[in-house]
Structure formats: structure tokens, C-alpha cells
């Protein structure tokens, strides 16, 4: 209904060339890493162990510290590259754009900056692929796109992916990285939480598996919707996960959080996470879980 009123005229052009993939056994992922990830740093210091790392080496190690295994943030496309079988990814709904539905101050400019920074049109990448031969529907939030926040497009793309998973009778894996619902689309963003949760409810009714993988950071409206609804909840080591961000808790509640609060490990200790899986083991861990949930695995049949 807002299509004509709020139509945008300026867009960033992004080439839609297929992503190059490498099998993880090679352990290298130089092509899919965009140089924008660390704008002007050849070196980066690990926040955990203090080791100074050569950016190129860090990227080649899937952005995991070579000294202490601290997990740095990684882009959606880079993650895809180290996760799925070569040439197996088919991207869905790649040309979907938001419309600035409530004419929020500065939103259009923010979108352009985010598109440039992330190389994506919106904050989530969706599609189907195979992981060690097992077909799966995937969604990845992109941290470089307004901190993976969920507006109309992110919600819609995730729901469409879930609905297609139902149609294709495939399991669903979502990698979340998000600050929460996107304030710039007001109530429409808030209701994407309900929309995604409702779609996952339908997936569950069809007895299809949903694995939620929480990565750094996952907060707010995303934690309070699709990221928490997995049959199996996986987190990456040291990822910060929570409902309210630590700064807000400190400001509004005048409450100092204990050391290590809201980490993946804290969440697991409080019963909210099944597994903590390192980036290097993610592919094989998911492959096993997907295999054990294939339809033939029912009623004690061998897999």
C-alpha cells in the first residue's frame, strides 16, 4: 500500500555473481571475505588473549583467533562459504528492498551506508544448500547491515524461507546475529517477531527440524523470536546473547552484570543453549544433526 508513496529512487548497484565456495578441508576462504571487514587494519588485536593477528591470517582461519580460538564476527557470505557444499547454494529473494514505511529520519541514508558496507541489499541472506550432502534451507543475518536488525525485509525473507522449507520438506537452520527489531520501521519491525515465530510454529507442525545458531551478538527482538525457537539451540563460543543489551541493563537498572554474563557459556549454564560449537566444527556438527533428523531416521531405521 505504500509502494507508490515511498518508492525510493537511489540504490546501490550490487553484482549478483554467485559466491565462490571452498570446502572447509582446504581451510582457506580468501575470496568470499570482503576487504571492507576491517577497513584500514592489516593487523587486529585479539580482545581475549591480546595476540596481534595479521588480518589475512585471521580471515583464512574463518576469523577465529589462531592463538586462543576467540571467535571474531564474520560476514554472512563468508560464513556461507565455510559451511555449505561447493556450488550447492541457491540464493532466494535477493532483490527485496524496504520502503521506509514510516519515513523515519535518516533511514534512507542509513540503508545506503549499510548496503555499501555489507555488499548486501538487506540484513539477511536466505536460500537452500547442502551440508555434507544433506539438503537444508538456510538464513544468515548480516552484522554489517545495521547490526543485523530485523525490519520488514528481514522478517519477510526469513518467513518465505521457512514456508519454502515446509513446501520442500527440508530442515531449517538460521544463523542469527542481530541487535534486535529495527527501530526505523517502527511497529512493522516489531511484528516481524510475531511473523517469524508463527512461521516456525508451522514448520514444527510439519515435523521439520529447526536448528537455531546464535552468534555474536544476538539480542532484543531476534532473541525474543526466531533465535530462541530452535529444536536445537547452538551458540558459537564467546558469543554475546541476551534480551536486553548490557549497556541498557546498566543504565536503566543501575545493575552491574557479573563477568561473563550473557556469553554463550552463561546462557548454556542457565539452560538456554544445547550446544556450544566452534566455527571450525560447525559444518560437521550440523551435518550430523541434519542426518539424524532426516525422514528415514524415524522409527529406529538406520541412517
Amino acid at each position: 500500500m505504500f509502494k507508490d508513496i515511498f518508492r525510493k529512487t537511489k540504490y546501490v548497484t550490487i553484482q549478483a555473481s554467485p559466491i565462490q565456495k571452498h570446502s572447509p578441508s582446504e581451510g582457506v576462504e580468501p575470496v568470499t571475505i570482503r576487504k571492507k571487514e576491517l577497513p584500514d587494519g592489516l593487523w587486529v588485536k585479539c580482545p581475549k588473549c591480546g595476540e596481534v593477528l595479521f588480518t589475512k591470517n585471521l580471515d583464512e582461519n574463518a576469523r577465529v583467533c589462531t592463538a586462543c580460538e576467540y571467535h571474531f564476527r564474520i560476514s554472512a557470505r563468508a560464513r556461507l562459504g565455510i559451511l555449505v557444499d561447493e556450488n550447492s547454494f541457491e540464493e532466494w529473494d535477493s532483490e527485496m528492498l524496504t520502503q521506509d514505511p514510516i519515513e523515519f529520519p535518516g533511514y534512507n541514508d542509513k540503508l545506503l551506508v549499510a548496503q555499501e558496507k555489507s555488499g548486501m541489499l538487506e540484513g539477511v541472506l536466505t536460500g537452500r544448500a547442502k551440508i555434507e550432502g544433506v539438503p537444508v534451507v538456510l538464513a544468515f543475518n548480516e552484522a554489517d547491515f545495521m547490526m543485523g536488525s530485523m525490519g520488514s525485509v528481514v522478517g519477510e525473507k526469513i518467513v518465505r524461507a521457512i514456508e519454502l522449507a515446509i513446501e520442500l520438506r527440508l530442515p531449517m537452520v538460521i544463523f542469527s546475529t542481530s541487535g534486535g527489531a529495527r527501530m526505523q520501521e517502527g511497529i512493522l519491525s516489531l511484528y516481524q517477531m510475531a511473523k517469524t515465530s508463527a512461521a516456525l510454529g508451522r514448520l514444527a507442525e510439519h515435523h521439520l527440524l529447526y536448528i537455531s545458531v546464535l552468534t555474536d551478538p544476538t539480542f532484543g527482538g531476534v532473541t525474543a523470536s526466531y533465535a530462541s525457537l530452535g529444536d536445537i539451540q547452538i551458540a558459537e563460543p564467546n558469543a554475546l546473547i541476551g534480551f536486553t543489551g548490557p549497556r541498557v541493563i546498566k543504565q536503566t537498572m543501575k545493575q552491574e552484570l557479573p563477568k561473563g554474563a550473557q556469553t554463550a557459556e552463561f546462557n548454556q549454564e542457565h539452560g538456554l543453549i544445547d550446544l556450544i560449537v566452534g566455527r571450525a566444527q560447525m559444518r560437521s556438527a550440523l551435518a550430523r544433526l541434519l542426518l539424524y533428523h532426516q525422514e528415514g531416521a524415524k522409527y529406529g531405521a538406520s541412517v
Partner: protein, 321 residues
């Protein structure tokens, strides 16, 4: 006048003036009835003028009015009977969430609501209407029973947001809200949600997955509190007024955006000026929708609720270079 807002001061000033004149006229025996009548007309005019075009920030103030009716105020006026049921069976009874079985126009319904306190003492007891995970889990427990026994569900939204402390994190606030959303989307009974005051973010949305979403005229329902939005956007919480306008969160905005289905009228100046009138309006609007929804099949109720959610959002699909 227990509590007045800045924007109401012109009205209050005139009312004061009228009473001064009345006193003066009585004391001195001078007939001032004409002057008084003029002033009274002006009061009526000013009221229509001011309350007729309240700005978003003024609505926020009315929605947060310390004397704004809360769920318990409406209970005796909306329901012939109400049996409150407590606890989530897992951890505690959250007193910022009330729930139970009620009789509404002769129909047995399940009711859940967020409840702010009146005054500091009660507010502390009710955590200022900010539910912890146990509040949402209590709600799901009670709504699951509504599904089991085929009762319609009425929810009442009035919260600044979900509890945002360490305890909430430890007990899985995200999990609790997400499960509430998913559960509500799946029910085969009518679900009618009404925002009666403040609809603060995900904590409010958790009770907001309905076939019908109603909003009291001066309520608001937002992705983020205007103060927090101002703090993020302009690093300045005093710009909440500007943020309130930018967020498009009034009942009228939500009707336009296709989220709210109908606005329930409030008496001039806000629900606190006439609780009975507000309850009467509310009762009639809810009853109207309940009658309609009860004609639907269980499957249609669920499918149509999904379709309603499915339609919320604004996007386009062609890239224009």
C-alpha cells in the same frame, strides 16, 4: 486536579478563573453570569481544540498517566465474573501479569493482562508492569488451557516493556517471549488483543498476536520507548518528544499501518477522566468482534490470524538502478 500536564494548563487556568469569578460574584453580590458563560464556552472550545489534536508525545503522557485505569480497574466493569489463576508452575507468580477465567457478556473467556501498579508501593510489587519470564510462561500456561477448553482469549496490553534485569536474562526472557508469540499464533480459538495503555516493545508484543488488535484512543504501541529511541538517535533522552513523532506509534498510526483493527474511543482528555465510559466503549467493541470471530471455524481462526501477521511489513522486490 490531582495531576495535570503542561498542555492542559490553559484549560485548568480557565477553570480556575471561572471558579474565582463565581466566588467573587457570590461574595460581592455582583452578577457575572454572562462573563462566566463566555468563559465556560471557551473551556469547551479549548478542550475540543487541545484534546482533539493531541501530539504523539502528549498521548504518551496520557497513556502513562499515574491514574490511567489499569486492568484491575476494568475487571468489575467488563466481566460478570473473574477468577484469577496464578503462577507459571516453574518458578514464581509474576504480579505484573494477571490472568484467569472470566465471564464476558455471558461467555466464558480466558483473560491475560499486563498490570502496572498505582503508586510506588504497588508499582514495586508489580515491577512497574514489566514482566519477567515467569509472567510470559504463566500467560502461555493459561492460554494453552483456553485452547484445550475452547475458550476465546482476551489480552490486555499495558507495559513499558519486558523486565530488563539480570534475573530476566538468567531465566530466558527471549525464550519466554518467543514461546508466547509462537503459542498465540497457533491457537484455534478467537484471540482479541487490546492495548489499554503503553505498548512497550517485545514485552508488549508477547500478548499481541491476535485475530483482532484494538487500541484505546490514547494508547501507543511501539518497537522502542521514545526515550531509548532518542538516546540512540540523538544521544539525548530529552528529545523523546521528537522520537515519539518519528516512531508513528499512536493508535491512529497503527490503524493506518494495518496493525490495529479499530480504535476504542476514550472520554475527552483520556480514560482516567471517566473509567465507566471507557469500560463501556471497550466492552462493546470487544463484544462486537467476539461475536464475529465465534462464527469462524477453529482452522479459519488460526489461518486468518497467520494471514494477518503475514501481511504486516512494507517491501518491494525489483531492484531499480
Amino acid at each position: 486536579m490531582a495531576h495535570q500536564f503542561d498542555f492542559e494548563k490553559p484549560i485548568m487556568g480557565l477553570i480556575q478563573k471561572i471558579s474565582d469569578l463565581q466566588k467573587f460574584s457570590a461574595e460581592k453580590g455582583i452578577d457575572l453570569s454572562q462573563e462566566i458563560a463566555t468563559l465556560e464556552k471557551k473551556v469547551v472550545y479549548l478542550r475540543t481544540e487541545i484534546y482533539g489534536r493531541l501530539e504523539p508525545w502528549q498521548k504518551v503522557q496520557i497513556a502513562r498517566h499515574p491514574e490511567r485505569p489499569n486492568f484491575y480497574d476494568y475487571v468489575p466493569l467488563l466481566f460478570e465474573d473473574f477468577i484469577e489463576l496464578k503462577g507459571d508452575r516453574l518458578f514464581a507468580d509474576d504480579r505484573s501479569v494477571a490472568g484467569g477465567i472470566a465471564l464476558f457478556h455471558g461467555t466464558v473467556v480466558t483473560v491475560i493482562a499486563q498490570v502496572k501498579g498505582k503508586g510506588t508501593k504497588e508499582n514495586i510489587k508489580r515491577n512497574f508492569g514489566m514482566p519477567h519470564p515467569e509472567g510470559y510462561r504463566k500467560a502461555v500456561r493459561l492460554m494453552d488451557q483456553a485452547e484445550k477448553f475452547g475458550r476465546p482469549i482476551l489480552t490486555f496490553i499495558d507495559t513499558p516493556g519486558a523486565a530488563c534485569d539480570l534475573a530476566a536474562e538468567e531465566r530466558g526472557q527471549g525464550d519466554a517471549i518467543a514461546r508466547c508469540l509462537q503459542a498465540m499464533a497457533g491457537y484455534h480459538v478467537p484471540v482479541i488483543c487490546t492495548v489499554i495503555g503503553e505498548g512497550g516493545s517485545g514485552g508488549a508484543l508477547a500478548f499481541g498476536v491476535g485475530n483482532v488488535i484494538l487500541m484505546l484512543e490514547n494508547s501507543f504501541y511501539s518497537v522502542i520507548a521514545p526515550e531509548s529511541c532518542a538516546s540512540i538517535l540523538w544521544k539525548d533522552t530529552t528529545k523523546a518528544k521528537e522520537a515519539a513523532a518519528a516512531l508513528k506509534f499512536t493508535a491512529q498510526d497503527l490503524l493506518r499501518l494495518g496493525v490495529a483493527d479499530e480504535i476504542v474511543r476514550e472520554p475527552q482528555g483520556g480514560a482516567h477522566n471517566n473509567l465507566h465510559q471507557t469500560a463501556e466503549e471497550l466492552s462493546q467493541v470487544i463484544a462486537k468482534y467476539l461475536v464475529r470471530l465465534r462464527e469462524e471455524t477453529p482452522e479459519a481462526l488460526r489461518d486468518k490470524r497467520y494471514e494477518k501477521l503475514r501481511a504486516i511489513g512494507a517491501y518491494e522486490e525489483k531492484v531499480v538502478n
